[in-house]
Symmetry: C2
Subunit: 301 residues, 2 copies
């Protein structure tokens, strides 16, 4: 088992993007609270068209008003050249782009084939590198596609090979609709490592079918040390109304700390931010550790 893992908190972007819109000030409060938990990486905003994703229409203002804490790496997600230019102008140096491993899912999202999106991404990587930023490619539906079903790990590994050749600094694998299982994690990580052993890898799990922490455990056994998670489990799954979406950061941290694996995060502070997120959203979030408290929080006798 690794001695430490690096958690990227994605609540402010991936989480809020999949919830009802909240005011700009609330987004800033959430970001600032997260910056105080000890987490070292935060996906802060995305620069997308406000008609496509109204939840991120105020990304520039959110980022301008948010406190930038020394030692925290902030990233932004962009869908295209226009978004990349906005992210660079806002000062981001870690930028994510997305492609779906499933052709059907990619067409549904951006009306282009996976191959066409990979061509776009090659150009985006050049743009980002030219401006001195690092480019991460997120491969969505890496563990399964809601339309196509199983996604061949060899296909995902081929995509990784392609984007690494095109200059990607890092790759992330999204379990977009929670189809990941320990078996799929093992198969995917092994296939990617066989083809590209050196590229930094991050895994992004959803808890739609209860497997998120089992997947995390499997990945740890394979030596993976970078994971996305979303405070409170922010970000419902659009394909399954009512189902939980993102792995809750405090559930991940709770299990990791119990295993003696360092994250740098203050779990109590994080649970406090999850409580704040519920208040800001005005709804109950699916995190069990938020609900019940860490296992170390005892009941009075």
């Amino acid at each position: 088992m690794p001695a430490a893992v690096s958690i990227r908190e994605v609540g402010p972007r991936d989480g809020l993007q999949n919830e009802e819109p909240i005011p700009t000030g609330a987004k800033v409060r959430l970001l600032d609270a997260l910056s105080g938990t000890g987490v070292r990486r935060i996906e802060a905003v995305s620069f997308v068209h406000p008609k496509a994703i109204p939840q991120m229409a105020d990304a520039d203002e959110v980022w301008r008003r948010a406190g930038k804490v020394e030692g925290v790496r902030y990233s932004a997600l962009v869908p295209n050249t226009r978004g990349a230019e906005r992210a660079l102008a806002a000062g981001f140096t870690e930028i994510e782009v997305v492609v779906s491993a499933s052709d059907t899912h990619n067409r549904r999202n951006v009306n282009r084939s996976t191959a066409e999106s990979l061509d776009d991404i090659a150009a985006l990587i050049d743009l980002l590198h030219g401006a001195g930023a690092r480019a991460e490619v997120i491969v969505a539906t890496s563990f399964g596609c809601p339309y196509e079903g199983d996604v061949d790990p060899g296909r995902v590994a081929g995509i990784v090979e392609r984007v690494v050749r095109d200059g990607a600094d890092r790759v992330a694998f999204g379990d977009t609709t929670g189809m990941g299982t320990p078996r799929r994690v093992r198969e995917l990580v092994t296939a990617v490592r066989d083809r590209e052993p050196d590229v930094p890898v991050l895994l992004h799990f959803h808890n739609t079918r209860g497997t998120a922490l089992a997947n995390l455990l499997t990945a740890l056994e394979l030596g993976v040390t970078e994971f996305d998670a979303s405070v409170g489990g922010l970000g419902g799954c659009p394909y399954a109304p009512g189902a939980s979406g993102n792995l809750a950061t405090e559930e991940a941290v709770h299990m990791l700390h119990d295993m003696g694996i360092d994250t740098g995060i203050d779990l109590d502070a994080l649970v406090g931010v999850a409580e704040l997120a519920e208040e800001l959203l005005g709804k109950r979030l699916p995190s069990g550790v938020l609900r019940a408290g860490p296992r170390t929080r005892l009941t009075a006798r």
Copy 2:
């Protein structure tokens, strides 16, 4: 990894005991539906004082009316001699008794120390064996106590040694308030095996803090092949209102089948029973696989 695991469905007893009471006919419907899923073991009822647990006041009638399916092993839980006599009179030959590894928790439950309860259990085992029944001892709070915190695996192993000496045919370990984690599972199973390598072991997980399937995965890696689970995740956790309680059977089966591990259970039929359970209870149950469907259930393009 084992090729097959044995799931004991505990929704009709442990599940319903921790929900609002439902009519006798509804309980019979649930039991009969479960008997048709291919599951090979069902904890059917408990024989407890109706004032203590009104949900089980009609246990005799539920059991009399339920269809007994060939090849399914049905068990009952009893708290004392009176309950054991009722279970034997009803024809049960697999009977469970409970003790809590934590002294504080045991006193809260039955106003006796763990040691005093173990003396009672020794006498109960004799009674059950004298009537030709098998006795399983369930050790509650095996992975942690909500009042005391961590429970020493050596203490749990000592309890196992004692009950095996007293004739217990099997032992089960309950994660009563969802404090189990992969680390605690590994420590407990190892400690018990060191002391009593031959006694059949069953693990009962709660998903209160999201760890249930990670715990299951860890136990599989240790060669454990018997688990409790509750259809739909029936049975809220009394210590954490709103938190999920029992591991949902369909979440366990979904992950196990994906790993190629046989359970004998028809997953689609099981999800149908989880839907029935929601209807009978008139509430939403916490199971993700119930909500989103198995990963193989695709969305129309």
